[in-house]
């Protein structure tokens, strides 16, 4: 067991120094591991299994998130527009032709964040704007979508806008996206069916994406990273248990996570919201779809030392 433990620690140390923004130093790890039981037997050691999970954790730091926000703008938003401009102009490569047409399209686009202003979706909008050098007036709040025209009927505040782009950082169940569609997109579409409404997200589960694609009126639903079921920790095709370490027992691991998860957040979501079973976190937050043992931190509730804590209060 000792060699594996040492190897896992060495891997975590490397991750710590390179991509984890030094958030998981040994003292922090020790604190987190103290949540779990030790054992002399490897396959029964909660601590060892916890360490194993941690070594597989995917973390995207500030720099990486900013780069992904660049990718959202450049690859998901801009490129398709440029492509259609080119096709409509005999495949021109002339930037003096393309750029003005592109700018014109961009000027009648508005970007919005998903979630209330204090949530991460909106927080990221700031970096999105910064990284891509975009003017402030391209960004609006949801309350700026509509206006009351004479008699109190709903109208689009700016009828010139042809595109609304909603940006989110994480789509797990797709719940928020579907809510937005119901609350906002349906009205937009009703007022002007020709307006394009897009939903672009940095990370999404395949499940979440499917739900939004099938249940909402968003015209364009895309993620920079779509997480399939192999990212679900204890699924049959889980990528974390493919190379079989002899000391690691996936069944034991799952039980352990369930056991503690239940104590922390209750049985329904003991392995992450909507049973997502993810091992992912970001500089600005850890989504609740990640295993609760990683992030749970609620003063006043079950005492627990998280390793990548999550900030907002739970509202399940």
């Amino acid at each position: 067991m000792e060699p594996l433990r040492q190897a896992l620690l060495a891997k975590i140390k490397t991750l710590n120094e390179t991509v984890w923004e030094r958030r998981a130093t040994q003292p922090a790890i020790e604190d987190w591991l103290s949540n779990f039981a030790r054992s002399n037997s490897a396959s029964q050691s909660e601590e060892l299994h916890a360490l194993f999970l941690l070594s597989n954790f995917m973390y995207f730091g500030s720099r990486q998130i900013r780069e992904l926000l660049k990718a959202v703008y450049r690859d998901l938003y801009r490129y398709p527009i440029v492509q259609s401009i080119r096709r409509a102009n005999s495949d021109s490569l002339d930037s003096t032709v393309i750029e003005p047409l592109y700018k014109a399209e961009r000027n009648v686009t508005r970007f919005l964040g998903v979630g209330n202003p204090s949530e991460s979706g909106c927080h990221l909008l700031y970096y999105f704007r910064q990284e891509n050098g975009l003017p402030k007036d391209l960004f609006i709040h949801t309350h700026q979508l509509f206006t009351r025209v004479g008699g109190g009927t709903l109208g689009l505040r700016d009828p010139a806008i042809t595109r609304y782009v909603f940006i989110d950082d994480f789509c797990g169940s797709g719940k928020q996206g579907t809510e937005y569609s119901r609350d906002l997109v349906e009205d937009i579409k009703r007022l002007n069916p020709n307006v394009a409404v897009a939903y672009y997200v940095l990370f999404a589960t395949a499940q979440g994406m499917n739900r939004i694609r099938s249940e909402t009126l968003f015209d364009d639903v895309r993620a920079v990273y779509e997480l399939d079921t192999s990212f679900k920790c204890f699924s049959t095709d889980s990528r974390y248990f493919r190379t079989k370490e002899p000391e690691i027992d996936s069944g034991f691991c799952e039980q352990m996570c369930k056991h503690y998860g239940e104590k922390l957040v209750g049985a329904t979501h003991s392995l992450g919201f909507d049973n997502s079973q993810l091992l992912i976190g970001f500089h600005h937050n850890t989504p609740d779809n990640t295993l609760p043992i990683i992030w749970f931190d609620e003063p006043g509730k079950t005492p627990w030392n998280p390793i990548f804590r999550r900030y907002p209060k739970l509202e399940w």
Binding site: K11, T14, L15, E17, T18, V19, M58, Y59, F60, R63, Q64, E67, L68, A71, R74, D75, R78, Y79, V82, Q83, R86, D91, L93, S95, I98, F203, V224, Y225, L227, S230, F231, R239, R242, T243, I280
Partner: protein, 318 residues
């Protein structure tokens, strides 16, 4: 100056048939026995299709398709020239598609120069992504027996005797041995690494950094710090080329680079991007592409096909 990011790139269906207007006169692919390479070969519609068999894959005569071009020539220039002479000839007015997926990088890179020499203005490149890699994190893409590090034929550049501000830009892939070898070969250069982000899969960026870290001592300081590392999408040659332009511009602005070395060790689309960048902007400059040449490569590392990407590459007139 061309804006690489406006060049056409789109996705072809992995399972369904391709649209009827997707067809070429000449189709070339490198044989590797990987499922996706064969699938794409079958799906492609072309007047003539060619398989290339590279000696480094170690295929014996009865294991590769009949009619394939298989030469024992291990020099990228000689191989490509021999192939062209034997199988292609005059290409004026003919459309070309290259599936770059199975190519060994030096051959692919030289081929691009050769196409430009033959006055090919534009061609399509295909790249297919697999379903899963066979062994996460431990995948060995090459035998890792590097026999020498050298410049790629046709990409040797002029040289500056002043080597006080030489730079090596490494497209960092999974193979940390390759990174270390090329870094050590250009020990006296400052190093910059380009990591694939967005990566092909969500976990691959982190794995990439983890593996590249093993070459850290060879690469030197500031590898993952902001001044020493940059990002380019793993599957986009055009943005890769743009990023190179940006990075080189930035470095030059601080202090002019005396000699620039480029080494694309990551995905094939990135390799394409490096080569396109060089041919478009860095010819007749003190810039060259260098590569750690291996004796052997593992021809099969993946299963399934999840995505097929098509890039329309614009080549400069030479």
């Amino acid at each position: 100056m061309i804006d690489y990011s406006v060049l056409y790139k789109n996705e072809l269906p992995a399972r369904d048939d391709w649209p009827a207007d997707v067809r070429w006169d000449i189709f070339v692919s490198a044989y590797t026995a990987a499922e996706r390479v064969r699938t794409v070969y079958e799906k492609a519609t072309a007047s003539e299709k060619h398989w290339l068999v590279f000696p480094e894959y170690g295929f014996s005569a009865n294991t590769f398709p009949k009619g394939a071009f298989a030469s024992p020539l291990r020099n990228e220039a000689e191989y490509v020239k021999a192939f062209w002479e034997a199988s292609i000839g005059d290409v004026s007015g003919r459309s070309i598609c290259i599936d770059i997926t199975g190519f060994i990088r030096p051959y692919l890179i030289f081929l691009l120069r050769w196409l430009a020499e033959k006055k090919v203005a534009r061609f399509d490149a295909l790249y297919s992504e697999p379903d899963i890699y066979s062994k996460r994190e431990q995948t060995r893409f090459s035998d890792e027996l590097v026999v020498e590090v050298r410049q790629i034929a046709g990409f040797e550049g002029i040289h500056n005797t002043d080597t006080s501000n030489d730079y090596l830009i490494i497209g960092a892939g999974y193979d940390h041995q390759l990174i270390a070898q090329v870094a050590e070969n250009k020990e006296f250069s400052r190093k910059v690494q380009i990591f694939g982000l967005p990566s092909l899969r969500a976990d691959m960026y982190q794995e990439n950094v983890l593996r590249a870290y093993q070459a850290e001592e060879a690469v030197g300081r500031n590898t993952t710090d902001e001044s020493g590392s940059f990002f380019a999408p793993a599957n986009d040659p055009f943005v890769t080329a743009s990023v190179l332009r940006e990075v080189v511009g930035r470095i030059n602005a601080r202090k002019p680079i005396t000699n620039l070395y480029l080494s694309p060790l990551a995905t094939k689309p990135q390799v394409l991007g490096f080569a396109v960048y060089f041919l478009t902007e860095q010819r007749n400059c003190p810039t060259s592409l260098i590569f750690p040449m291996c004796e052997a490569y593992n021809p099969e590392t993946t299963t399934g096909v999840s995505r097929i990407l098509k890039y329309t590459v614009e080549l400069p007139g030479l």
